[in-house]
């Protein structure tokens, strides 16, 4: 809902891993509710949950995925949606349901340098 990205130091303590990756496949797509075209923005509406396959190109920290591996992760219901070819830094956290992408806008939440810097400050390698 068009809030700014969360400060990274509020989210990173709960993260188990961060990787640079590319979306290679949309594995599951929950039904997307259609919203009427509106003159208003920042409405409390969401993009549906997805399960996507990521191809990891670089590990920034953590053990959830290795470079070159393909992993399935959950894009929770929220402010953004993924499509094949999307790429960038994905911050990941383990939940009961599986591995989930953290950050309000997924790979568009924080740049790689910010993730690396914050991880280093927290001693995450």
């Amino acid at each position: 809902m068009a809030k700014p990205p969360e400060p990274i130091d509020e989210v990173l303590p709960a993260a188990d891993s961060a990787v640079l990756a590319k979306v290679t496949r949309i594995v599951e797509q929950a039904p997307q509710q259609a919203y009427e075209r509106s003159l208003e923005t920042s409405l409390p509406t969401t993009a549906a949950k997805q399960v996507v396959e990521l191809e990891v190109t670089k590990v920034l920290f953590g053990q959830l995925a290795k470079s070159g591996a393909k992993v399935q992760v959950i894009k929770p219901e929220g402010a953004y949606a993924l499509r094949e070819g999307n790429q960038g830094p994905f911050v990941l956290g383990k939940t009961d349901a599986g591995v989930e992408i953290l950050g309000r806008y997924g790979p568009d939440t924080w740049p790689e340098a910010a993730v690396k810097q914050a991880a280093a400050a927290l001693g995450k390698h």
């Binding site: 809902m1 068009a2 809030k3 700014p4 990205p5 969360e6 997307q32 509710q33 259609a34 919203y35 009427e36 075209r37 509106s38 003159l39 208003e40 923005t41 920042s42 409405l43 409390p44 509406t45 969401t46 993009a47 402010a79 953004y80 949606a81 993924l82 499509r83 070819g85 999307n86 790429q87 960038g88 806008y105 997924g106 790979p107 568009d108 740049p111």
Partner: protein, 572 residues
């Protein structure tokens, strides 16, 4: 001597005009009149109207067609209209009617009569106008529940070289009243014409609405005056609005005018303190007025909202504990109101869903920093007063008195709106933006009330004191939008834009633009023959392209703008 009109269609035309606030025979509506006199055994009304508005038809051919079905009694009716109606008339329309009954020669210099809507609206709004004219429209049936003025039109199409147009409007339902006009390249406009949408569904199931926020009641010596307090429509034209005094049970039924307003001079029986239950019927639904829209209370005789002294705004519900206490504490900020001239770069959205607000304020700061300086002042007692204009009406200022306490994160920075480009410490942060945002939350009720979406156009209107408008953005509208932005910016009128909703969020990932979000529009430019629009993200970061700054400012090719953005907010 009163008119005695024989032809039922001409009589209906006259009655419709009499019901309006300013009856007029114009170059636009006269076509309905001509179709009425031209019909007969040879052609139906609809066929005649279609023939009269056929692309390329000349004024002389129109006259010949209209004359072909003219009867003696219709000739008499037209004569009465000219002599006795007292209606205002466009010179071109008057000459045509005079020529029709052989009172004057046809003056070709007026050109063919144009601008008419033809057929039903099953596949859009079709009709004829002069080639190149832009067709503007507003849905009068939905406008009362929205935030639109009567002139807050959207562009639905452009007449092609032959004069034909086919426009689309979102969310038009059977029976909706649509008001249209044609705008020429020189900015001149035709008269309004109003149609009732038909052919979309089998029946109209939506009731009319009445927007009670747009009504003021005031007690006077001889009853309660009822004032329509804005230029936005109150209800659908022709709707029956019922006021019932809850104390006495007395009912007053009125018919909404052709512009969705109340009849002039309306008074209700009652006194100060009375409550009125208000219901509305469009003649098809809620005909027994069983569903009450709401209640209006008569205050102590005076209207206007000035010097409002409201309690501090509570936090957004996301930042409240279950027991209703805030999760964050308040701190008193004591920095300067302005470090220097207000600029868009001062504004930063906080952790709240109100992107429309900082985007609007940054747009105003870009073009009219004086408007920002004029709307906030520090009082001798250390408090501040912020002034808005209710509904964009400069005659209805709303003044909010507030202190400089802001909710802060654990590390001390504001959780909601703050200033960029300097410290965010409580001793030195520039205060104009966070205090104006706080005043807005105070006015509207809480940070929750302003933190779940809104319209940047509405905020610009409330800040500058002008009515708002908008244009839908879509591929193919690059040149029109480029010209509109260029013209508004040159006139010093702020502009903002909104992206598509969350259901289209997958369009946005990796573009640097975000869904369901508002942006300030700062200008347009051309580089190497390509057109760009200059934008700013109210987050003060996250942008399209890579200029190495990540300050929220960026340029976007118009072709991408029309793909990623949904609406352009403008002021009239």
């Amino acid at each position: 001597m009163p008119m005695r009109i024989a032809d039922s269609r001409i009589r209906s035309f006259v009655e419709t005009q009499k019901a309006t606030t300013a009856p007029k025979i114009s170059d636009s509506n006269v076509i309905d009149l001509l179709a009425a006199v031209g019909d007969g055994s040879r052609a139906t009304f609809d066929k005649m109207k279609a023939d009269l508005t056929k692309p390329g038809i000349t004024r002389a051919q129109q006259l010949e067609l209209a004359k072909s079905g003219l009867t003696r009694s219709e000739k008499s009716d037209i004569g009465q209209l000219l002599d006795k109606s007292g209606f205002a008339m466009d010179p071109g329309a008057k000459n045509f009617l005079e020529a029709l009954i052989d009172r004057a020669p046809l003056q070709e210099t007026f050109g063919p009569l144009s601008f008419a809507v033809t057929g039903d609206q099953k596949n859009g709004i079709a009709g004829t106008a002069k080639a190149g004219e832009v067709i503007e429209a507003i849905n009068l049936s939905t406008a009362p529940s929205g935030r639109l003025h009567l002139a807050d039109t959207m562009v639905i199409g452009t007449a092609d070289a032959s004069g034909k147009f086919l426009g689309t409007m979102p969310d038009v339902k059977e029976g909706d009243m649509i008001r249209l006009r044609a705008r020429a390249a020189d900015g001149s406009t035709s008269d309004w014409i109003t149609i009732q949408a038909k052919g979309i569904e089998t029946r109209d199931t939506r009731n009319a609405v009445v927007n009670l926020e747009r009504v003021d009641l005031a007690a006077t010596a001889d009853g309660i005056t009822v004032t329509h307090n804005t230029k936005r429509p109150l209800s659908e034209p022709g709707a029956q609005i019922r006021f019932v005094n809850a104390r006495t049970g007395e009912k007053v039924d009125v018919t909404a005018t052709d512009v969705g307003s109340l009849p002039a001079g309306l008074k209700l029986p009652g006194k100060a303190g009375d409550e009125f239950k208000v219901s509305v019927s469009d003649g098809k639904n809620n005909v027994d007025h069983a569903a009450v829209t709401g209640t209006l209370k008569v205050p102590g005789g005076t209207g206007g909202i000035v010097g409002v002294d409201l309690p501090d705004p509570k936090m957004h519900k996301d930042e409240m504990n279950a027991d209703g206490t805030p999760k964050f504490k308040l701190e008193r900020f004591t920095g300067p109101l302005f470090l220097n001239e207000p600029t868009p770069g001062d504004v930063r959205q906080g952790a709240i869903g109100n992107c429309y607000f900082p985007a609007a304020l940054a747009s105003v700061a870009h073009l009219n920093p004086q408007a920002i300086k004029d709307m906030i002042k520090q009082n001798p007692d250390g408090t501040y007063t912020v002034r808005f204009f209710e509904n964009g009406n400069r005659n209805r200022p709303v003044e909010i008195k507030l202190d400089s306490d802001l909710y802060v994160r654990a590390w001390g920075g504001p959780i909601y709106g703050s200033s960029l480009g300097g410290s965010t410490s409580k001793e030195s942060m520039e205060l104009w933006y966070p205090l104006i945002e706080k005043a807005y939350a105070q006015w509207k009720g809480s940070y929750d009330a302003i933190g779940n979406g809104g319209s940047a156009g509405r905020v610009m209107s409330e800040v500058v004191g002008r009515s708002q408008g908008y244009e839908w953005v879509s591929p193919g509208s690059e040149q029109r939008l480029f010209d509109r932005i260029k013209s508004d910016i040159a006139r010093g009128v702020p502009v903002a834009a909104g992206t598509h909703g969350s259901d289209q969020a997958s369009l946005y990932t990796n573009t640097g633009v975000y869904a369901n979000h508002a942006y300030s529009v700062l200008g347009v430019e051309e580089k190497n023959g390509e057109k760009f629009v200059k934008l700013r993200n109210p987050w003060g970061q996250s942008e399209a392209g890579n200029d190495g700054k990540n300050d929220g400012f960026f340029s976007l090719p118009m072709k991408d703008f029309t793909k990623l953005y949904s609406s352009l907010y403008v002021l009239n």
